[in-house]
Amino acid sequence: MAEEHGKIRARLRDGAVQVKAIIRHPMETGTRKNPTTGELIPRNYIREVICEHNGKPVLTLDWGWGISANPYLAFRIRNGAPGDTVTVRWQDDQGQQAALEATLS
């Protein structure tokens, strides 16, 4: 898992998979000013998030710039097993994409 894109943890509990992720992204609203230059920092935010279990989408999210910076996300997959992979992938309004992946132990 690449620290540069954030952190993800997926844990098996009673057969369900608790997934917690923190995605590294500034989620700029476009209304914040650079403290030194006084210039507006352009809007830049994650729009779409796809959560996958063993490569299959199980939860999809549409986000706006009202989601906090370095967004936290937690959800639960109903049935999991050791060896399963959980992936959180996203795309922002600039077309930048990245993903976080965890394997259940």
Partner: protein, 153 residues
């Protein structure tokens, strides 16, 4: 290197157009982000754009957990849990944000109908959850007092 490793590496480096051309992008990532709803400035307009004229009924089977008082409006933790059979869509809004729509989640039967996120609240607001389940629309809300606002500098 297997295809997945290549895909993950490529996703983080390549521009969108190259990925499209290579056929590596999941189609979902190019789809239906609700632009008009995210840009709407009034709550009723957001609801109309997302749900037409459908009337929502208040339900205590949709629970919003959020702090009563948020000291940092830039990071307000919100948990929504839904005790309805097979909800499809959850929409989270703030009635006092300049753009009320915060997020939309679409569930498959593979996940529990619950979600935790963190949102920005510019000022004290009501968080509103709208849930579409089996063709019906349900609503819950929760007041959050904000002592230090979250949208601007």
């Amino acid at each position: 290197m297997n295809r997945r490793d290549l895909l993950l590496q490529t996703l983080t480096a390549a521009p969108l157009t190259a990925l499209c051309a290579a056929g590596l992008l999941p189609r979902r990532l190019l789809a239906d982000w609700p632009q008009a709803a995210f840009n709407a400035e009034h709550l009723d307009e957001v609801e109309r754009l997302l749900f037409g004229g459908q009337v929502a009924e208040d339900s205590d089977r949709v629970k919003i957990n959020a702090p009563e008082i948020a000291e940092n409006g830039r990071v307000v933790p919100v948990e929504v849990s839904i005790d309805l059979p097979e909800p499809q869509t959850l929409v989270l809004l703030s009635d006092a944000n300049p753009y009320p729509l915060l997020a939309r989640a679409r569930f498959t039967p593979e996940v529990e109908p619950e979600l935790s996120v963190r949102v920005k609240l510019g000022e004290s607001a009501n968080l509103i959850a709208l849930v579409q389940a089996d063709g019906a629309l349900y609503r819950a809300s929760r007041a959050v007092k904000v002592t230090s606002g979250g949208c601007g500098g």
